[in-house]
């Protein structure tokens, strides 16, 4: 178990509990009452800490190394039926972006998502979940195939951004993302996008145009990471907490601002604290949303999708104000 800095009180109590348990074991003295009390105390502390998380603490949770990544969600939701499909048919196969078919209770679904590595070696190979243009083009190829065979699409978003490398620029990172934005608005099949970790900038949006865009409770979604925002606007790396607040990047803020369609509640202590529970929650949410979306015609979905994104933004018309 890896504890974040603000989880220190929970860690201390948990260590105390472990000690108590081992003493009880060795001494054969019945300490069940003290153990139960301590367990209740840990629960209480966890509730207290997790009901008052700051924006920055949520950013930390979204990056928790024990948090499940895309392939883990796909495997659980598809009951291990996932068949991964590779390549953009042009330059290669991007390991930072995965996709393929899976069966969800008898319904074939096209799954797509950024994938972070689970160990040091895989983190390199998957470039920390930062996709290259061929990743976005693979995603689009698979989405088009889903459309052709009338299968719904579910994307899992978890990226610190699109990869800012030399070859990414040569191969048109901007064009690849832009193309996805345009094409995704016109997809005839239902599209559900779920932010499961980090939703950074155009790299996240590149697979983020959906009928339903949902955020897990302890994730973030914005135009820039709090660290980079701090370095650009405050010209220092040390304002990341302030920047995290200012950016209004949490699921609650994004929902209040009407920029996402819903929040998926995480288990107490965060998604990493109970994988089975978050997988079950995400699966039932996908099924619930698909049920609703399937009742609409492709035209209805496309129109609603375009109207939704077109309504985003806050402007004032000076002339209208004048006439009031």
């Amino acid at each position: 178990m890896i504890y974040l800095d603000f989880e220190k009180p929970i860690q201390e109590l948990t260590e105390e509990l472990e000690k108590l348990k081992s003493v009880a074991e060795k001494s054969k003295v019945d300490m069940s009452k003290s153990i139960a009390e301590l367990e209740a105390k840990i629960h209480e502390k966890r509730v207290e800490i997790f009901s008052n998380l700051t924006a920055w603490q949520k950013v930390q949770l979204s990056r928790h190394p024990e948090r499940p990544y895309t392939l883990a969600y796909i495997d659980a939701v598809s009951n291990s039926s996932f068949i991964e499909l590779h390549g953009d048919r042009t330059v290669g196969d991007d390991k930072a972006m995965v996709g393929g078919f899976g069966d969800v209770d008898g319904q074939t679904v096209m799954f797509i998502g950024q994938q972070k590595g689970i160990n040091t070696k895989m983190r390199q190979i998957r470039r920390f979940g930062m996709a290259n243009p061929e990743g976005y083009r693979k995603a689009l190829r698979l989405m088009k195939m889903a459309e052709k065979f009338n299968k719904p699409i579910v994307t899992f978003i978890d990226t610190p951004g699109a990869y800012p490398g030399l070859e990414a620029e040569e191969r048109g990172q901007g064009e690849a993302i832009a193309r996805n934005l345009l094409e995704m608005t016109q997809l005839k099949v239902p599209v559900i996008c779920i932010i499961i970790g980090e939703g950074a900038s155009g790299g996240a949006l590149g697979i983020g145009i959906g009928d339903k865009v949902l955020m897990l409770e302890n994730t973030w979604y914005s135009v820039i990471s709090p660290e980079s925002c701090s370095s650009i606007l405050w010209r220092s790396w040390s304002f990341k907490e302030t920047a995290a607040e200012a950016l209004k990047l949490t699921s609650a803020d994004m929902s209040n601002n009407g920029l996402i369609d819903g929040i998926i509640k995480e288990p107490l202590g965060g998604a990493h604290n109970n994988h089975a529970e978050i997988f079950a929650t995400v699966k039932s949410e996908i099924l619930k949303q698909l049920e609703v979306l399937k009742k609409q015609t492709p035209d209805q979905r496309i129109t609603a999708r375009i109207d939704k994104f077109s309504a985003m933004g806050v402007v004032h018309d000076l002339e209208e104000e004048e006439n009031k």
């Binding site: 800012p164 030399l166 620029e169 832009a178 608005t185 820039i224 606007l233 000076l318």
Partner: protein
């Protein structure tokens, strides 16, 4: 109450008044260091007479270059940005807006207008780098969105002139969603079969590149313009070595297949009207 109430009294100078070049001034080219009179330089559309360096210009200059007799009708000119996040960095966003509006004579980083180009109808959305680095906020997205509605209704082709450092951070996710918004609207142009030309000028980067700037039926550019998604500094940090010469220039982007053509500013109007005719006939 909205900050824009205070703003109304603040707007006194127009872009055209501000941009008037007094006679007798000189223009020194930052590229070749040759000096020409400001008048000569302006007559050559702010392109260096010696080396062809394209000076950065704004919407007022582009409208004058493109529209017949500088005749155009501005669209949605009274839109100003809100402050949905109540954003403050080292300065309040609303103060930044008020100051920039006063200093630049502009209301945001994009102006839209329709008029004729050698007799051909065209809507032009043109970004102004002088307004918070040409950053894309809600007003930029909304003006493009409404301009596309106008194009769809009147079957008028669209030209967007990009010149931007990318997203407007003070509008955070609202800024990000302008990429989705403009691309969604462009998909309607696509379906309707109305031509959209994207002109990338120096610089075109970030979220603008990753949305409307790269979505033209034709993507064109001015020579030497910086065009990319990630900024050169970020790419350099990623690869840990110096960038190859000419990296992310218009010429580089064309060689890699993402631009249809590089057109010098002095030829822009003629080429545009030829293309518009070819789409029509």
């Amino acid at each position: 109450m909205g900050w824009f109430k205070r703003l109304k009294e603040g707007i006194t100078t127009t872009t055209t008044e501000k941009r008037e070049t007094p006679e007798g001034l000189w223009y020194k080219c930052p590229s070749c260091k040759k000096i020409h009179t400001a008048q000569e330089h302006k007559a050559n559309q702010h392109v260096c007479l010696n080396c062809g360096y394209h000076e950065r210009i704004g919407s007022a200059e582009y409208f004058e270059i493109i529209f017949d007799d500088n005749n155009f009708t501005e669209l949605h000119e009274n839109l100003v940005s809100g402050d949905p996040l109540d954003f403050t960095d080292t300065k309040k966003y609303t103060d930044r807006l008020t100051d920039t509006i006063k200093k630049s004579g502009l209301k945001d980083a994009l102006r839209s207008a329709y008029g004729k180009v050698n007799g051909n109808d065209l809507v032009v959305c043109c970004m102004d780098f002088g307004f918070i680095g040409g950053s894309m906020g809600s007003v930029v997205g909304e003006k493009i969105s409404r301009s596309i509605d106008f194009c769809l209704k009147n079957k008028t082709p669209l030209l967007i002139i990009s010149k931007s450092g990318g997203a407007r951070m003070m509008e955070a996710a609202f800024s990000l969603m302008q990429m989705a918004k403009t691309s969604a609207k462009l998909s309607l142009m696509d379906k309707a079969g109305i031509p959209y030309i994207s002109l990338c000028t120096d610089p075109t980067t970030g979220g603008v590149t990753a949305s409307y700037a790269m979505l033209g039926d034709l993507n064109i550019s001015e020579p030497g313009a910086l065009i990319g998604f990630a900024g050169p500094r970020v790419v350099k940090e990623t690869i840990g070595k110096d960038l190859p010469k000419g990296f992310q220039t218009a010429e580089f982007v064309l060689e890699h297949g993402f631009l249809d053509k590089i057109i010098t500013r002095t030829e822009l109007k003629a080429k545009l009207s030829t293309l518009l005719k070819m789409f029509k006939n």
